[in-house]
Symmetry: C2
Subunit: 342 residues, 2 copies
């Protein structure tokens, strides 16, 4: 029996729990917003269901509340932030806001964030910059779950990339992992007793499998074979190594309650005004996306969509009708509130 | 009966033809180098086989030799270049060299190139920056050949991305189209009388096909479905619209001999020294790539490779044993020389 809650109910509950655990108002609010935006779009793997793990991480001192990140400008255009094990979400968003004047002055600015907790849905930051009229490319690392193209061992993260570009009406928003699928979706197939589609995963010996149990003991396949593999490695290097954080197996601390978080994130922010097509970009983006949407669908499809169209549609609906959660997810969050207020 | 030529023989022939057509020494040499690097790596679609089309384009005034591009700095970090219909290769490479001091000063610099001919294998520029100790992300647009995810019409270019990152020994080099395959490879299957693999293309009605003839009348499929599609659109916007050039169907002039070239290119160049992991980046890149290479291969594979490993291996071999070309490709180039020297 799912529980349906409003955006405000969810925000309030998360803020109350995190405040109760010592988070300040700003970090609690941004963390709540990042999770709630994910749930509004149907990306529940990155929503409030992560609250219990975060609460445990805070209680164990793996995530530190109310810390002051160390912000260092290496040049006028590059801001490097040491998060001191604080909230990755709040540190990323507030640092991006601090980067904006530099981006507008120089046409481009880069932010790196290290030693901070999981930044959540990476599209969140790219979308916000696009809504401010800026372009944002965001890369972040994750635990290894993906095998190399032609390989049998999980050595690459699902390492997502997000890109936001201003567009009339809505921005262009791309937010994608570099694997075909996510572990969460394979678990969902298992729970429904279904086989997973071909090409999603390999078993522990590196053989393609459609058995979710074998896939869970094996690893995820990179999207587009060598292409997703190449992009995944690139993100490990740009979001990880360049940022002063590890690549590969040493990335830990987003899904577990045992390790410090060792993800890294890199954001490239661009001001269209510094470019020849800057003034007409937003109109051109809308025109091109509308041309794609209006084009002839292929066999088995009824409508061509632009990236994030399904997520925006769901968000519009859920802002009105609420966000459905499995009962246990919502009750776990409520339980945390009850424990804290005791 | 293939003809095998040395790197120097090929460089000399191309330079002689282009010089004969009025190109200056610098633009002829860079163009020859870009094509020859592609042929050395087995990427013949981007090699000397393009010389006859370029010669015709020069003779028809679609590609202008010996022009002075207009270089405008919009900020200290952003260089926008109007190529005045000149050589995209030479203009991109020389402008990137001009960008380097700004990149080193600010930690990041961006170059855009518009109104210039096809820039060739986009990895060329990314690799050179990586060899100079810089990171480079390069995007360029192409003619539409790819259907949207769920669509039936070619509305997206194969829009490639290249990324070079310094690594001890060899750099990390990713150079990939955002489609599963290339039209050239489908033509090769047709010539051999073979079916193309599933997932490469759709027919004119948007149904998946393994018939190369149907594919040639249809369109290429994006790599990884919605992911390659999203990346392809992103590149249309960053490499095209932002640069002041079109996205989609109006991109012309790289394969034909009728239209001005309307591709656009954007290069983001980053100096690792401005970042926390900059000093250890090259060593970390090598270590991670070696870990991937040394990992257990999956079923059907004997070795895990890093991106560009096969191309580098072939290049090493061909620098010694020469570059094989179909007789007609090499003879067409020689014929151009003979015609010009008359």
């Amino acid at each position: 029996m799912p529980v349906t809650v409003s955006r405000k109910q969810q925000m309030d509950l998360i803020v109350e729990v995190l405040r109760g655990l010592g988070a300040n108002e700003e970090e609690a609010t941004i963390q709540a917003d990042v999770w709630t935006e994910a749930d509004l779009r149907g990306i529940h793997s990155h929503g409030v269901q992560r609250l219990p793990v975060m609460a445990t991480r805070i209680q164990k001192g793996l995530l530190k509340v109310n810390v002051k990140p160390e912000r260092t400008w290496s040049t006028e255009s590059v801001l490097n932030v040491d998060g001191k094990d604080g909230f990755g979400t709040a540190i990323s968003e507030t640092s991006l806001r601090e980067l904006t004047p530099a981006t507008r002055k120089h046409g481009v600015g880069i932010l790196t964030v290290r030693n901070a907790a999981h930044i959540g849905m990476v599209g969140y930051y790219a979308e916000r910059r696009a809504l401010e009229g800026l372009i944002c490319l965001a890369f972040t690392t994750t635990e290894v779950l993906v095998h190399p193209f032609g390989g049998a061992e999980a050595l690459v993260g699902t390492n997502p990339i997000a890109v936001g570009i201003p567009g009339d009406g809505r921005p262009f928003l791309l937010d994608m992992a570099t694997s075909v699928s996510a572990m969460g979706r394979i678990i969902a197939f298992k729970h429904r007793g279904q086989k997973i589609p071909e090409g999603w995963a390999v078993d522990k010996d590196g053989s393609p499998t459609t058995d979710p149990d074998a896939a869970l003991k094996g690893s995820l396949s990179p999207a587009g074979g060598p292409k997703g593999y190449g992009l995944g490695i690139m993100i490990a290097m740009l979001g990880g190594l360049l940022v002063g954080m590890p690549a590969g197996r040493e990335v830990l601390g987003t899904l577990d309650t045992e390790f410090r978080c060792t993800v890294g994130s890199l954001f490239i922010v661009i001001d269209p005004k510094a470019f020849p097509g800057g003034d007409t970009l937003a109109a051109g983006v809308k025109k091109y996306l509308d041309e794609l949407r209006g084009s002839r669908p292929g066999t088995g499809f009824t409508q061509v969509m632009a990236p994030s169209d399904p997520e925006y549609k769901l968000r519009d609906e859920r802002l009105v009708s609420g966000i459905p959660h499995p009962e246990e997810v919502w009750h776990a969050a409520e339980q945390l509130r009850n424990n804290i207020s005791k």
